[in-house]
């Protein structure tokens, strides 16, 4: 070990300074114990970043261990920049989802844009070329002008970044609920394609190998971004806007091409994004994975401005930077590749035999930690977990006692109301701002149940989707965790794809509150159950905690990003009806399950009741039956039945494809105890709406899988409108009014002004 001296001018380490760095007194004691001395200011900064919730997963790691992570097709599970699965033919898919919630809450455009940039880098550093982007977004009510500003800014940020880099944004989901008013959720997922042999891992290996900083120069932006993302938002958060980084997608595009060329060249051993906590976490994590020591000289790091301290250089989150470990002696080849793309590359350190993590400023050691303990010694917590009594009461409320509104006598009124609720309505206003067709692989783009991308050079395609219902998870976290997985699987299956694996992004409140930790624990347990039953292991992901503000926490929102495989492009199936005369069938059982439904929230303003129960084994059978029917060529269209229930799902089948709308004539038998509104708008799980020219084949297949199946009606021409008879009620509507309700809702809301002003900021009183 070397002698480490504080730098002249460094502040003294006081309890206040330690607290400012987000370390508890116990964590500080642990740090002193590890070093066997008082840390320097630089060391305190390093540890504050690495032990932040965002980098260390200290409150979630013990729970994440319980998730299933393996299957024969998993080439890389959790712990790397991205997970990787084999899709046969020597090809593999790398994918990962990540949150950028906190930055997007204070600076939506850059927050979302840099979220896209970061997840892109996570995927191409595995050696994969990104082929698709997805986004899972949550906002407050669009009636609020600031929410409109956040929504518009986030969408533009996602679009501008992905469009410029040239990766199609193909799917995702957007949910609006007052629970997300102060804390929008912005989760970005990237999917990449690679040859299996190009898989590269971020391990610092080979004593004497040079460590090279690549890409953009390091500036003072984004310092402490990781710790900012590890605390509750408050009125003071706007003042932390400078912690949000600024993205440059043009540099990212160059970096993408240069990195893939570098990996192909064989000149490098490892490559990693300098993401959260920048140089600090990338170098420490590479050293930990490689079981080697590293030394870095901050004076060698290319910087944007003079006078930057080691502390600033190490903690900067300037975007579009990579850390590369090259083979010794290949430095000039590496620099040549970067120079071709007009990017800088500087040797800033090397892999050493001595098991230490060392930072120098010229010849002076400014920080040094023993071995990999910097990462492995991070504290882990399993705090108290206890369900909030108020939530239990909500769940147990008898919602059947809620009287219908007078207008509900006409169920078409209710349907139109639901179709125009922003959570259900068409999201074309957003996804028309995303280039979804670049790279010419997109067979089904945004607006389908899942997106489908063909795999060139094969007859295969992959399907991708994100899903989560936060309201269910709020009312019943374990069940909600199951449903997040199951719904994503169903959506992927509707396109003809076998669900293969997931990445997850766990968005929760402050885990130190027992009610929140209970939600986290239960949701993870539910996800594990569903992943096991569906054989879709978790290959990695991200945890975002502290999504709360003085008004409270967001709904627990464990977002699932699913990848499925379609063995033959002939099986690619759309969600909309296309052929009048086709028989409409429903797979799965319809029960009276209105708890936690969109119907209750939109029509009655009530969030209560037992959400629909999800049995993962039943989901598995329904998916198997559907996939078998699709493979047999018996299915014209397949649509998942979720938010808004059967009525909304049937309407979507008729109206979603604006250029080819149809009608439908449907009559549903349900058990006598089920009310009409339960049949029409209840959200029972494990159901698909299928249109078919060969209904007998679908029925036979479903029965073989012991899946309930019923012929419920016929696809009709558009002029015939939509008719649904259920439990003594008849819903009758023309297609125009349903189509207008669904297609025009968000554009019409977004034509109202949007303002950046936070609700708590007083308006300027005339200047």
């Amino acid at each position: 070990m070397s002698t480490v001296h504080p730098r002249p001018g460094d502040p003294e380490i006081t309890p206040d300074l330690v607290a400012e760095h987000g370390l508890t007194p116990e964590e500080y004691e642990r740090l002193v114990g590890m070093l066997e001395r008082v840390p320097t200011f630089t060391e305190l900064g390093i540890v504050s970043a690495l032990w932040s919730e965002h980098c260390s997963y200290k409150h979630s790691r013990n729970l994440l261990r319980t998730l299933p992570v393996s299957a024969p097709w998993v080439l890389q599970g959790p712990g790397e920049n991205a997970g990787v699965i084999s899709i046969g033919d020597g090809l593999a898919v790398a994918f990962k989802i990540e949150s950028h919630n906190h930055p997007s809450a204070v600076e939506p455009y850059q927050g979302a844009a840099t979220g896209v940039g970061g997840i892109l880098r996570d995927v191409f550093t595995m050696g994969a070329r990104p082929i698709a982007m997805l986004n899972s977004l949550r906002f407050g009510s669009l009636d609020n002008a600031r929410v409109r500003y956040l929504f518009a800014g986030v969408v533009k940020g996602i679009g501008d970044y992905g469009n410029c880099v040239g990766i199609p944004t193909v799917a995702g989901e957007i949910v609006f609920d007052p629970a997300y008013e102060g804390n929008p959720l912005v989760n970005a997922m990237c999917v990449g394609l690679m040859h299996e042999e190009d898989l590269i891992r971020a391990k610092a290996e080979g004593v004497g190998n040079p460590i090279i900083a690549v890409g953009a120069r390091t500036g003072r932006d984004g310092i402490h971004g990781a710790s900012f993302a590890s605390e509750d938002l408050s009125e003071a958060s706007d003042a932390k806007r400078p912690r949000v980084q600024v993205g440059d997608p043009f540099t990212e595009k160059l970096l993408l091409e240069a990195s893939l060329e570098l990996i192909k060249s064989g000149h490098i051993v490892a490559i990693q994004d300098m993401g959260a906590a920048g140089l600090t976490s990338s170098s420490a994590e590479m050293a930990e994975r490689g079981d080697a020591g590293v030394t870095i000289d901050v004076t060698k790091v290319p910087v944007r401005e003079t006078g930057m301290t080691p502390y600033e250089i190490l903690l900067s989150e300037s975007q579009e930077r990579m850390l590369v470990v090259a083979h010794r002696g290949r430095e000039s080849e590496v620099k040549e590749i970067l120079a071709k793309w007009d990017l800088a590359a500087e040797v800033i350190g090397e892999v050493i035999a001595e098991p230490v993590y060392r930072v120098t400023e010229g010849d002076t050691v400014v920080a040094e930690f023993p071995g990999s303990r910097l990462v492995t010694e991070c504290p882990r917590y399993t705090p108290d977990a206890r369900e909030d009594d108020d939530i239990r009461v909500l769940r147990e409320r008898d919602i059947s006692a809620i009287p219908e509104l007078a207008e509900e006598a006409d169920p078409a009124w209710t349907l139109r109301k639901l179709l125009s609720s922003p959570t259900i309505a068409s999201k074309a206003w957003a996804y028309r701002q995303y280039d979804s067709t670049v790279r010419t692989n997109t067979m089904i783009g945004p607006g389908g149940d899942a997106a489908v991308l063909r795999i060139r050079g094969t007859n295969k395609a992959i399907a991708v989707k994100t899903d989560c219902n936060g309201r269910y998870t709020y009312l019943d976290p374990r069940n909600g965790g199951r449903i997040a997985v199951a719904e994503a699987a169903r959506n992927v299956a509707c396109t003809g794809a076998r669900p293969m694996a997931i990445t997850n992004c766990l968005n929760f409140g402050n885990p130190k509150r027992p009610a929140v930790f209970f939600q986290l624990r239960e949701a993870i347990a539910g996800m594990a159950e569903a992943c096991t039953a569906l054989e879709t292991p978790v290959t990695g992901g991200n945890v975002s905690l502290y999504n709360e503000n003085p008004q409270g926490a967001v709904y627990p929102t464990p977002v699932v990003g699913m990848v499925g495989l379609i063995e033959s492009v002939e099986h690619v199936t759309r969600s909309t009806f296309s052929t009048p005369g086709d028989t409409i069938l429903v797979l799965g059982e319809t029960r009276d399950e209105l708890g936690g439904s969109e119907y209750l929230a939109t029509i009655h303003g009530v969030v209560a009741g037992q959400p629909p129960l999800c049995d993962p084994a039943v989901e598995r059978s329904a998916i198997d039956a559907l996939l078998e029917s699709i493979a047999a060529g018996a299915v014209t269209s397949a649509h998942d039945c979720s938010d808004g229930g059967l009525a909304v799902a049937l309407a979507e089948c008729c109206i979603a494809d604006r250029g080819a709308q149809t009608g439908a004539d449907v009559s549903i038998d349900a058990s006598a105890s089920t009310q009409a509104r339960g049949v029409l708008f209840g959200e029972s799980q494990a159901r698909f709406i299928v249109s078919s020219a060969d209904p007998a084949a679908v029925e036979a297949t479903a029965r073989r899988h012991r899946v309930p199946v019923a012929r419920i009606g016929t696809v009709t021409p558009r002029e015939a409108g939509l008719t649904i008879k259920a439990a003594g009620r008849t819903l009758r509507s023309d297609i125009d009014s349903l189509s207008a309700a669904w297609h025009d809702a968000i554009p019409s809301i977004m034509s109202a002004p949007a303002v950046a002003l936070a609700p708590h900021e007083p308006e300027m009183a005339g200047v």
Partner: protein
């Protein structure tokens, strides 16, 4: 026949154009690096879509100074075909190969969508495979696609049949609600006076396969192949 696809830093449809030529038509293609001065004996040059130089300053404004543009302009002046798509159209306007300019969409938003185009002139080397008045479906994806030029230039383009494609309704009518970016006269694509440089915002290279939504772009490439091979 050989197509040269120019790669500027920030181009991102160069791959699609290359694959279109090679996979769909079985023709030769080469990527041409923007710093080079060699068109590698290409018969047709494609200026592809993307965000050359990150659209900094203005789309196409920096790319026009790329070294390779000297050779591209010389190729065009010799009568060599140049297909300028999306950002390529913006670059061609900046380089003076085509008149006019492409401004921010009137919605101020990026727009990605399949649109209907009417073929206004089926007598060019890029459009002879279509019939005049034919309505085709081709994707667009751009933030700066609002074609503009002064009145004199627009009336010259119109009267000389140099408007090759126009945004229309599915029925083939010019209608402001089917003009995705506010282009003057709903202009989607124009050709130079000599008839060998076509600029268009829509992406024909993305419309070659019905499984991806449309194959209406094929006739454009087939027109070129018929012309150049004749």
């Amino acid at each position: 026949m050989k197509f040269g696809v120019v790669t500027f830093p920030g181009s991102n449809c160069d791959y699609d154009a290359y694959r279109a030529v090679v996979d769909t038509f079985g023709e030769q293609a080469a990527y041409i690096w923007h710093k080079d001065h060699d068109l590698q004996d290409s018969d047709v040059v494609i200026l592809p879509g993307g965000f050359s130089y990150g659209d900094y300053l203005r789309p196409g404004a920096i790319a026009r100074f790329s070294p390779v543009m000297r050779e591209v302009i010389a190729h065009a002046n010799r009568g060599g075909p140049v297909l300028a798509i999306c950002n390529g159209f913006q670059i061609a306007c900046e380089a003076g190969l085509l008149p006019g300019a492409l401004l921010r969409n009137d919605s101020l938003r990026f727009v990605s969508s399949a649109v209907n185009l009417r073929v206004e002139n089926a007598a060019t080397m890029f459009s002879s495979g279509y019939s005049e008045g034919q309505v085709i479906t081709v994707p667009i994806a751009h933030g700066d696609g609002r074609f503009t030029a002064d009145e004199e230039v627009v009336s010259e383009l119109e009267s000389a049949g140099r408007v090759v494609f126009r945004y229309v309704s599915p029925a083939g009518d010019v209608d402001p609600s089917f003009n995705p970016n506010g282009s003057v006269n709903s202009i989607a694509g124009i050709i130079n006076e000599a008839g060998n440089v076509l600029g268009m915002m829509p992406h024909p290279e993305r419309a070659l396969d019905d499984r991806l939504g449309s194959s209406d772009g094929r006739a454009l490439f087939e027109s070129l192949l018929a012309k150049v091979e004749a």
